[in-house]
Structures are given as C-alpha cells and as structure tokens.
Symmetry: C2
DNA sequence: CTGGGATTTCAGAAATTACTGAAACTCTCG
DNA sequence: CGAGAGTTTCAGTAATTTCTGAAATCCCAG
C-alpha cells in the first residue's frame, strides 16, 4: 500500500470501521482512497494503491456504485473507467441516509404493516407494540423526508440553530396547524 | 421455536435484519422476542422459545445489555434474572442513536481530529477534504445532541412540524444569533 | 468482423464471525 | 461453610463472508 502517510492512515481507518458500517474492509478502503483523491482513479490504480486483487477492486466498486457513493467519470483519451466520490458532502450524507433507510428500515416498515394487515392474530400487548413501533418509524422517516427536501443552505441554518428551534415552535405553535397533511 | 405466529414472524424478521443492523441473528431474535413480550423473560425461556443454546442466549443478552437495549428486572420469588426492553419507544430510539453514534461515528471523529493535529502532512486537497468532513460530522452530531436534549413532547411537535420549520427560521432568523456556542 | 485490452463473474481458498457443550465460576440459602 | 441452582467463559466447530486467480465476457479500434 503505497501512498502518502495521511492517506494511508485514513484509508486504514475506514477499512477498520467498515465492518461497523455494514461494508467490508476493502469497500471502506476504496471509498476512503477515492474520497481523498483530487482526481478520479481507475481500477488498476486502486488495486495497486491498496494491494488487493483486481477482482476484489471490481466487486468493491460495484458495491459502492450500488450505494451511489462513487461515480463513473470518463477521462478523455483513456479507455479505462475512472471513479470519484461526489464533491458535495451534503449530497454524500443524503445518499448515505437514503440508502441506509432503504436497507435497514424500509423492509421492517413493510413487514410491520403486513403483520398489522393480518388482523388480530397476537395478544393485545404485542399488537399494540407493533403498531406503536410502526407509527414511530413513520414519524421519524416522515421527518427525515421533510428535512431532505430542504436545500442545503436552509438545512445548515436549521442545524446551527439547534435546540432553540423548540422554543420557536412553542412561541408560534398555537397559530399553526398541528400536523402535516 | 414455539410461540404465536405473530411473534414468530416478527422474531424471524428481526433475525434476518440483524446482519444489516450490525448485530447477529440471535441477538436480533432475542431483542424481538423481548420487545413483544408483556412480561420479562428469563434466559431459559428465551433459549427454549428460540431453540438456541443456553450459552448463546447468555452472550446475546450480554451484548444487548452492552447496547443498553435490554434491562434486568428482578421478579420477586424467582432467583433467575429476567429481561425486558424499555417500554418507551422514544427512549429506545435515543439509546439506539447514541450507541450507534458511539460505535460508528465517534471513533472516526477522533481519528479525523488526530490527523488534522499532525499538521500539514498531505496534499492540499486531502487536507481540506478531511477538515470539511470533520466539520460536517461535528455539525450533525451537535444538532443531534441538541435534539436529544428536548423532552419527548417537544420532539414530537417538532417532527410533526416537518419542513415547515424551515420557513419559521426564515421568518425570525434575522433577529437571532446566527450560531450556537 | 476480429484482435486484444478492459472488466466482470465465479468457484474455491482464506479469513472472520457465530454457535455450542463442557467446564468454571458465582451467589445464596440452609 | 458447602450444596446446588444459575450464569458465564472458553476452546473447538460450524457457518458465513470475503478474497483471489482463472476463465468468460464485453467492447471498441482497426
């Protein structure tokens, strides 16, 4: 693995964290490498920098593309495909949350709805628990979807605003409809 | 695995989702079982319901306790330890986010800070990319910590309010300090 | 067409992670 | 103190996941 020390440490860290993030070591490393790289890299460059097999690189890139975390970029005069990460970090965060939601939450939400559809087949407690869980997930994903709709500038303002937002709602809350349509 | 069909389906689903959530199958199943259970269960009941080994149950419960997702509950007149999940779903969500933050984000934030401390050891692009990433993570975790401080009632109000919150900030934003801290 | 570079697929090997049963330990009650 | 129920640890095994090299496929320039 030959690259500047900073890159090296960063790449190794992402590799280690990979398993906690639900991706494997090499996928984490490939992402880290591309993230720090000013220019797009081709698969052979990645293979060499990380000291892994060419096929492993190919699979890693495929997975990162499935996550929409890396993009293909054509370099004129080069037949090879080159890869980059989006420049805009906010975009990366949105993609990450969307994809995790899709993989980790949506299937469970569907399952909960399906279970409720079956009608009363359990004891009261478990039925109630399942409904409550579904409602909570719907509220949280609904909120996220609302936030994701905001443009970056507004989002930054909101986050910087922090918990004072709550006071704001207290103040004006009475004059506004209590729930979303 | 003998339990009502509703429980069974729910438990199996949590087992399957486990790997996506960064826990293993049995840990997911144990959690699901306790979640639906009106009364606290002891380790033997869990072992029998899920058809796994007693030691596996013990390890699963230990991991769930490390996540603070299950609690010990003493049942009078019974020497065995009994386990439950918190009743309040909001509390569960807070715990989940806190713990995931601790495992998935905090180590990276530390690493980024450490890398920046080393002074200028990389190219300009990668240095900038790392700072930018650290700042973004700090903003998001800061916002989360602010939100976590709110009581449930305010939080529900805020989430229900959704994206209209942004308009609210637009309206009063000028009269308030631009940043926290 | 077709020759050859570029990429992907895939079956098996390697590495990692999960699970089990047996043994060790802990705690409490008599 | 010490018997025994209850729990945890741990070493070995099973299952799963990741990685590799070879073969197959793709695709464009000539």
């Amino acid at each position: 693995m030959k690259m500047p020390p900073l890159h090296q440490e960063f790449v190794l860290h992402f590799g280690e964290m990979g398993s906690r993030w639900g991706i494997n070591r090499t996928v984490g490393q490939i992402y880290a490498l591309l993230f720090l790289s000013a220019e797009a890299l081709n698969a052979d460059q990645i293979t060499e920098a990380l000291g892994i097999s060419r096929s492993n690189t190919s699979m890693g890139l495929k997975e990162l593309q499935a996550w929409r975390l890396v993009r293909l970029k054509h370099v004129p005069g080069d037949r090879k495909d080159h890869f980059t990460t989006p420049d805009d970090l906010w975009e990366i965060v949105r993609i990450l949350i969307d994809e995790r939601k899709k993989r980790e939450i949506d299937p469970t939400l569907s399952k909960l709805r399906a279970l409720e559809m079956q009608g009363p087949v359990g004891d009261d407690y478990s039925e109630a628990r399942i409904s409550e869980l579904r409602e909570m997930i719907e509220m949280m994903t609904g909120f996220y979807e609302d936030m994701a709709r905001l443009d970056t500038e507004k989002l930054v303002r909101l986050m910087t605003y922090g918990s004072r937002i709550a006071g704001l709602i207290d103040k004006v809350g009475g004059y506004l409809p209590a729930s979303r349509g």
